[in-house]
Symmetry: D2
Subunit: 162 residues, 4 copies
Amino acid sequence: MRIEILVTGGTFDKEYQELAGELFFRETHVPEMLRLGRCRLDVRVKTLMMIDSLRMTMRHRRRILDACRKNPSERIVITHGTDTMVETAKVLGRALKGKTIVLTGAMVPYKFGSSDGMFNLGSALSFAQSLPPGVYIAMNGRCFPWSDVRKNRAKGEFEPLR
Amino acid sequence: MRIEILVTGGTFDKEYQELAGELFFRETHVPEMLRLGRCRLDVRVKTLMMIDSLRMTMRHRRRILDACRKNPSERIVITHGTDTMVETAKVLGRALKGKTIVLTGAMVPYKFGSSDGMFNLGSALSFAQSLPPGVYIAMNGRCFPWSDVRKNRAKGEFEPLR
Amino acid sequence: MRIEILVTGGTFDKEYQELAGELFFRETHVPEMLRLGRCRLDVRVKTLMMIDSLRMTMRHRRRILDACRKNPSERIVITHGTDTMVETAKVLGRALKGKTIVLTGAMVPYKFGSSDGMFNLGSALSFAQSLPPGVYIAMNGRCFPWSDVRKNRAKGEFEPLR
Amino acid sequence: MRIEILVTGGTFDKEYQELAGELFFRETHVPEMLRLGRCRLDVRVKTLMMIDSLRMTMRHRRRILDACRKNPSERIVITHGTDTMVETAKVLGRALKGKTIVLTGAMVPYKFGSSDGMFNLGSALSFAQSLPPGVYIAMNGRCFPWSDVRKNRAKGEFEPLR
């Protein structure tokens, strides 16, 4: 069972730029994380974009939707910034049928040592293998269908709508 | 949905004893790992024992089986040393009905920074939520039924029997 | 021999704010770093301010100078942002006599795991014990007198003027 | 000013062997530590041996003494297991003249994330630059002459004899 991982950026992949003292994107850390997690799934990692999800426009989301459609795999994990993860999930959820798509991300950059990224990546890959077709968000050890989830910005957590 | 985490020790929880220069067990790191992973599941952590799985006897395995039986939760994750994880899974698999039990562990201690533990814990908790009743091993991002798994000691990985 | 550590902020002490996704200051990590380094010197840590050194004004520098003067210890380490460390060193160097003052900092926040902070702190405390009175900058394993040092911003390193 | 770093092993360089679950030596981490510490000293790293200092015999110590004698550098840092660091320092201290030799080590392996190694390495390199000829031990942020130091095994710290 092949799983496709589509990378779009987000806190997951932010790094510290030493000279400027700022956060920035370079390359995705997902392959390193899979190696560290000793993952032996048949996965392929593809970087679609490398942006902060606050900068994501409808055009970016259509590119993600397109990539999901064209991808031969029926099980796809998408790494995504948490700020607009719910918006992207809605775009995908309304348009896609017949595939299991799991969006995930992190509140703390992987490179900063105390990341929730490893935990979430393990979680997303597992839900992607075991859940029926649909679009989901895997965060905080939980899994939410795209139509019943929001980010609680005050807590930095995801929760159901009701 | 309440998930019970039963701790039995294993590499997961090994620490470095500075004065003696040896590896040892103190307390489980599972609660710290759940906090780091920003886990918001309804979980309860209970330490059954704190041992290297090479030292586990049939008596220890019966204690684990007993704990699974008596536990009111229908979804249980067990942290366990990898060396005899398959043996314990068999004992549980043959005797338990109606509960989803997922065993997991790590090849590198959580405290040593480069651990597969966070990845595996996220994975095990997710399979525990999404799989039907049965006894499973969640390692390397994969999930194996208890009756079709072995540890490949040369590679330090789990794989199906055939 | 008592050594005083005066904390002024800088990259050393920056943290990642998960909810806003920004870098910020909370409390100094110097005591934690000393514990991790298993330091057994007679040190006292005092936080003077907690700011990015780009925001430091002449008024801040006078406060640091004052603190050095009034402090009974003859050996003082100052943690400081690297961007204007040289400017503060000049203010102290021109005005102070009879004390060994060593400024140090980091290019990567201590909390981000791959920090030069532990290395520099060990270095600064050692130079503070072994050098004669004067004002110095300890960075990159080297020690520069205040009158012969600049930050090479392109490289993120300190070097002598000639 | 060239500084020579002679590597002999010790906790500094121990790693975790995942398949066997044991501690072992592979290659020294000193070059990686210097890079992480952004060290810009003119240093050269040479591995003399890679052993636990409890296994060090008089023959090993003579090899270290020889290496110090033949080395053209007048400033040498030696990484060494803490258990018999004092013994090696005595052998060197009685036989060597005219060079500044600083022995250092760690209580926690560098690879285990919470190491005192970075702190001690920064400290040893700084004392090696600033102290007059002699043989010293740099541990716990302090520097001891070879003739007045012992390891307090109960505390895991170094202290003067009286």
